[in-house]
């Protein structure tokens, strides 16, 4: 929708007024931003520079009615300021401040003709609202995108697969395991077995606070899938609380080879590896 189609003459007048008073209004706006303690993460120069860009984009949208350029700018701005800790309320705040600065300027100009002022506002308001909306939505969308990215990164980091010795992998698991994480875990485990040609995996759950029936079943599945790929899994670090829960729930852990702690687990793993060593290897003397 091209807003410029509505009341074109008034809008043009409005736009030229805003361009004429660009320096003064921009400065006033920057000052009000600082007074409101917004964008405190940024230096004065940065605030002014962004203010200039936003102002010009703002007037551009008023003039052409096309928001795409503003959307692109808002996305770009969000990408830059979000890592610096700038919050949503600050971004919405500064846009509303600009809206206010410009509205007051229009009032000053048209105050002697109330009827005309009303018509100017009719032209200004919808455009101003659309702009505020566009900027806020772009910012929030960018934040959500970054949060999703970070969640992915955290998931990746929290499930390392460590090749410790030849044919031996250690999978230290910490934090809460939900179904999705359990699935990712199993994926990493199985891919790790293939990539490192592991014969034994020590899965350490010391860092997992609670293991309920659902999680236990996921772990059992992981163990069975590992067996299909020729690898044995040794579970270590099961807390007594978790062990109690599992026994009470009657979870079938007969398929699980469980050992007290990580060290015992590794020793057990080495025993297993020696037993599984190729038949033609000469015995160590």
């Amino acid at each position: 929708m091209h807003l410029a189609e509505k009341r074109p003459a008034l809008l043009r007048e409005l736009v030229s007024h805003l361009r004429e008073h660009r320096e003064q209004l921009r400065e006033e706006w920057a000052r009000r931003i600082t007074d409101a303690h917004l964008l405190s993460e940024m230096t004065q120069e940065e605030v002014f520079s962004e203010a200039t860009a936003v102002y010009d984009n703002y007037v551009e949208v008023l003039e052409t009615g096309i928001v795409e350029a503003l959307q692109a700018y808002a996305r770009d701005l969000s990408e830059r300021i979000i890592p610096r800790g700038i919050e949503t309320h600050e971004v919405i705040g500064i846009v509303l401040l600009l809206r206010d600065v410009l509205a007051r300027s229009l009032f000053k100009k048209y105050q002697h003709d109330f009827d005309l002022f009303n018509r100017v506002l009719d032209a200004y308001e919808p455009a101003a609202n659309r702009i505020a909306n566009t900027v806020a939505v772009s910012f929030v969308r960018e934040r959500e995108r970054i949060i999703r990215q970070q969640q992915e990164a955290i998931r990746e980091l929290s499930t390392p697969v460590l090749p410790v010795r030849e044919r031996l992998l250690i999978l230290p698991i910490s934090g809460v395991i939900d179904s999705q994480r359990a699935r990712q875990l199993t994926e990493k485990l199985l891919n790790g077995i293939r990539d490192h040609r592991a014969k034994v995996v020590v899965m350490d759950v010391t860092g997992v606070p609670t293991i309920d029936a659902t999680v236990a079943n996921h772990l059992v599945q992981a163990v069975e899938a590992s067996r299909l790929m020729g690898a044995s899994v040794i579970l270590t670090g099961l807390s007594s609380a978790s062990a109690q829960t599992l026994v009470t729930l009657g979870v079938d852990l007969s398929k699980m080879h469980s050992v007290g702690d990580l060290q015992s687990g590794i020793e057990e793993a080495e025993l297993l590896l020696r037993r599984k060593a190729p038949a033609q290897e000469a015995p160590a003397t």
């Binding site: 077995i193 014969k199 599945q221 899938a225 067996r227 299909l228 020729g230 190729p278 038949a279």
Partner: protein, 124 residues
């Protein structure tokens, strides 16, 4: 399309080349049974690296192959089950219980060698 079966020492190696129909699976079972008898093989490796699906029929057939061949004196090892295939199988409760499984051909041969050694030690 029949699964090619190669002889290597005392062992037979069946390399699955493409997705197997139910008929292919039963053919494989019969062929292996015949060849084990013919060559008096002591071990069989079925390489399923290529398969991206192993369903319940395939699982049941592979298990019955292993049991049949055992009755004819041969140990069976399934090799090459891929990560996502293994995952799908356990989710459906298909476990190939009672059948040896190894990562790949090399491991499969090592597995058979170990078993033969044990058999030799036990005078089987």
């Amino acid at each position: 399309m029949p699964v090619p079966i190669l002889k290597q020492r005392d062992y037979l190696i069946a390399s699955v080349q493409a997705a197997l129909s139910d008929a292919d699976l039963t053919d494989l079972r019969d062929n292996l049974s015949n060849q084990v008898g013919r060559f008096r093989s002591r071990g069989v490796i079925i390489d399923v690296t290529v398969l991206d699906v192993i369903d319940s029929f395939a699982t049941r057939t592979l298990r019955s192959v292993a049991h049949m061949l055992k009755l004819r004196g041969a140990e069976t090892v399934i090799v090459g089950i891929q990560p996502d295939v293994a995952f799908a199988m356990v989710q459906l409760g298909l476990t190939l219980e009672g059948v040896g499984t190894e990562l790949d051909l090399e491991e499969g041969l090592a597995h058979l060698d170990r078993v033969m050694k044990l058999r030799g030690a036990n005078g089987v």
